[in-house]
């Protein structure tokens, strides 16, 4: 700023002392105010709108949940924790929680594995790379309700395409709309169909950030393709894996669209065998009970469940993250154990069974712990701005 100061110090004039003392003009004061206030002004639209449509409703859910409150009658009298007691006593609530967890497991685990595998396929010197990348993203633009209608037909109990395929390999038709676990698999398949490609691209981006010389070093050490994948790629993209798992948890606990369109009723079948907790919430509030108080209690309970699962996730991933590159404690213990084993083996007169990497290369440090052979220098983004903010996932 000082570079282009508007005064001209080059020519000292003799009359310079006569000038009146500088006063801040109106526009200058305005300018100073501009600098002070603008940052707050710029972030305020987000915070104001978000407070009104995001945080306030979430907090107010707690208020609604302690009142008798109906869709038609509106606010009733204060009932304390009665709504929570009522909800917790309903077997359908517990069934829906079980369904939610089951569907979540069937969707998240295979999805991450498939996404990493496809990303590894894409992470090569491909012809028409963009074409393949776009190809995996196509399902992402299909609305979940449309996917649900289509897959409801693919997974039809009678003359369904999937059952027909299974018949070709000699498997009896499966009651996708009758059996509880089968329905969970079908619904999880819809979730996987939509999100695998998306997560593939995130993994692919992380894989492309892995330094190439790590692979060269691995090749020199005699690692083949598969070994490179498990010993270089996977440890390097661990942070991204954690990120994808966490975001898919928040989304996976709130599955709604897929269930609503899976059959004619849209409430999880006659026995509520595939009703998720969000669908249950919907049913309590706008379905047969029209009871906002109880539905709000369900919302808060689900909120707590999601937070709890998130915490478990976080702790688990923390452990994984620290067990990796800087696991001094673990490695020392591990080394001790290895040495003890070796001593015992020596006492028995055998050779120690610590496996050396194939290819005859001597390990860098004999007796070193198994954690990833390469020390990842820059971690590829744990908290990248990749996906879905919680509110609009699925």
């Amino acid at each position: 700023m000082a570079l282009l100061s508007p005064t001209k110090p080059a020519q000292p004039r003799d009359g310079s002392d006569d000038r009146p003392p500088r006063r801040l003009g109106f526009s200058q004061r305005l300018g100073r105010l501009d600098v002070k206030v603008s940052p707050y002004l710029y972030i305020s639209p987000f915070f104001l709108l978000f407070a009104v449509v995001g945080l306030f409703p979430l907090a107010y859910t707690a208020v609604v949940s302690v009142y008798e409150w109906n869709l038609l009658g509106g606010q009733g009298e204060f009932v304390g924790m009665q709504n929570y007691v009522d909800v917790l006593q309903q077997p359908t609530f517990w069934k829906s929680v079980g369904n939610t967890f089951s569907i979540f497991l069937f969707s998240s685990v295979p999805q991450v594995i498939m996404a990493i595998t496809i990303a590894a396929l894409l992470d090569q010197n491909l012809r028409a790379a963009t074409f393949w990348r776009m190809g995996v993203l196509v399902p992402f633009i299909v609305a979940p309700v449309a996917i649900s209608m289509i897959f409801g037909r693919l997974f039809a109990d009678q003359y369904g395409f999937i059952n027909e395929l299974l018949g070709l390999v000699g498997i009896d038709p499966i009651a996708w709309h009758g059996d509880r676990i089968a329905s969970h698999v079908a619904i999880a398949t819809m979730v996987n169909y939509r999100w695998t490609g998306y997560n593939t691209l995130i993994f692919l981006a992380a894989m492309q950030a892995v330094p190439r010389d790590l692979y060269e070093a691995a090749v020199i050490d005699g690692a083949g393709r598969v070994r490179q994948f498990f010993s270089v790629t996977v440890p390097q993209i661990r942070a991204t894996v954690i990120f994808v798992v966490i975001t898919s948890t928040v989304g996976g606990m709130q599955i709604f669209d897929e269930v609503r369109m899976y059959d004619a009723g849209g409430l999880g079948g006659p026995n509520r065998d595939w009703m998720t907790t969000v669908v249950y919430l919907y049913d309590v509030a706008w379905g047969n009970q029209k009871n906002f108080g109880r539905a709000a209690a369900v919302a808060w309970l689900l909120f707590l469940i999601i937070v709890a699962v998130g915490m478990v996730n976080f702790l688990m991933t923390q452990r994984i993250a620290t067990a990796g590159p800087k696991g001094a404690k673990i490695s020392r213990r591990h080394t001790k154990r290895l040495m003890a084993e070796a001593r015992a083996a020596a006492a028995r007169g055998e050779t120690p069974t610590t496996s050396a990497p194939p290819g005859g290369t001597p390990g860098p440090q004999p007796g070193s712990p198994p954690p990833p052979p390469v020390d990842p220098p820059p971690q590829p983004s744990a908290d990248s701005p990749t996906t879905n903010s919680g509110e609009d996932v699925r």
Partner: protein
């Protein structure tokens, strides 16, 4: 090549011999340096097939008739012109309100993505490049809200919207979609790297006001990330069903609600339903054909930064 000798010095003769042997056998290098083999193309082809097949299957069912669908998993192998009569039925049916749904979805998608892009860029610019008290904690707050399932506040939101008379109105869907925490975080990340301070200073020295600086310097710099954010938000709003299904009615629907209407009105006529499902998907498919490349690049760009 002297690398064998180098390896022999650094890792021992055994390692050097092994490396030489590997090199003779042409052990492929991992990562994108590796040239893809036939197996890769075959597997990727299979993935592509699985991605596309459900949509193609929709076309097949839409071309068929309900009786054939009920008796045969694959009523025919190629779509035919009867598909268009299904389209015509869906478009003209007065219970479905297809055009209104298309208009509403477009309106919601455009408004929401423009607004998210503008407000996110504004806030992201402030967080990334301006100094003010409380910047750090506020940014942490934004990031924390990304993990909060805001969807669960749906009951008070419904009460609020009903109170102000927006039940069944499009603005009830537009307003909650005007800002996202994800958008702010995304633009903050992008601008903190993509926009040099020198540019901002130059504009200030030239006498531009704060907002003028934002508009003429930060906005153009943010364009690539803004395009991706807008696309992403558009797709999210276009495919959104949960909240619209609660606050809107079939008289004034969005496209995902059309799917629901089709199911409720024509559950027995699967070919008509599927024709409609394809019709609902078509606009985004066309859009994807033109801007899918940017969407892919954007998702990948977002994944590595941070």
């Amino acid at each position: 090549m002297s690398s064998v000798a180098v390896t022999a010095q650094t890792a021992g003769a055994g390692a050097a011999r092994a490396a030489a042997k590997r090199r003779q056998r042409k052990v492929p290098l991992g990562g994108s340096a590796r040239r893809a083999g036939r197996l890769t193309y075959f597997l990727l082809g299979a993935v592509l097939l699985i991605s596309i097949f459900p949509l193609y299957y929709t076309l097949l069912l839409g071309s068929s008739d309900p009786v054939a669908i009920a008796q045969n998993p694959i009523p025919q192998w190629l779509p035919d012109s009867s598909l268009f009569s299904q389209f015509a039925t869906v478009i003209t049916d007065s219970n479905i309100n297809f055009w209104k749904a298309l208009w509403n979805s477009t309106l919601i998608g455009v408004f929401s993505s423009l607004s998210v892009v503008f407000f996110s860029t504004l806030a992201g610019y402030s967080f990334a490049k301006l100094n003010f008290r409380g910047r750090g904690p506020l940014l942490v707050f934004v990031i924390a809200t990304m993990a909060v399932p805001v969807q669960l506040g749906i009951i008070p939101l419904y009460i609020l919207m009903s109170e102000i008379g927006w039940y069944g109105q499009v603005q009830a869907v537009i307003v909650p979609g005007l800002v996202t925490a994800f958008g702010v975080f995304w633009m903050t990340q992008y601008l903190s790297e993509a926009l040099p301070y020198e540019l901002i200073e130059a504009a200030r020295v030239d006498g531009a006001s704060m907002f003028r600086t934002f508009w003429s310097v930060a906005m153009p710099a943010a364009l690539p990330a803004a395009a991706m954010l807008g696309l992403f938000q558009f797709v999210q709003q276009w495919t959104n069903y949960f909240w619209p299904s609660i606050i809107l009615t079939s008289d004034n629907p969005t496209l995902p609600l059309v799917v629901q209407s089709l199911r409720d009105n024509y559950f027995v006529d699967y070919s008509l339903v599927m024709g409609g499902v394809f019709l609902v998907t078509l606009p985004l498919l066309i859009m994807f054909f033109f801007v899918g490349r940017q969407l892919v690049a954007g998702i990948m760009a977002g994944a590595v930064k941070g």
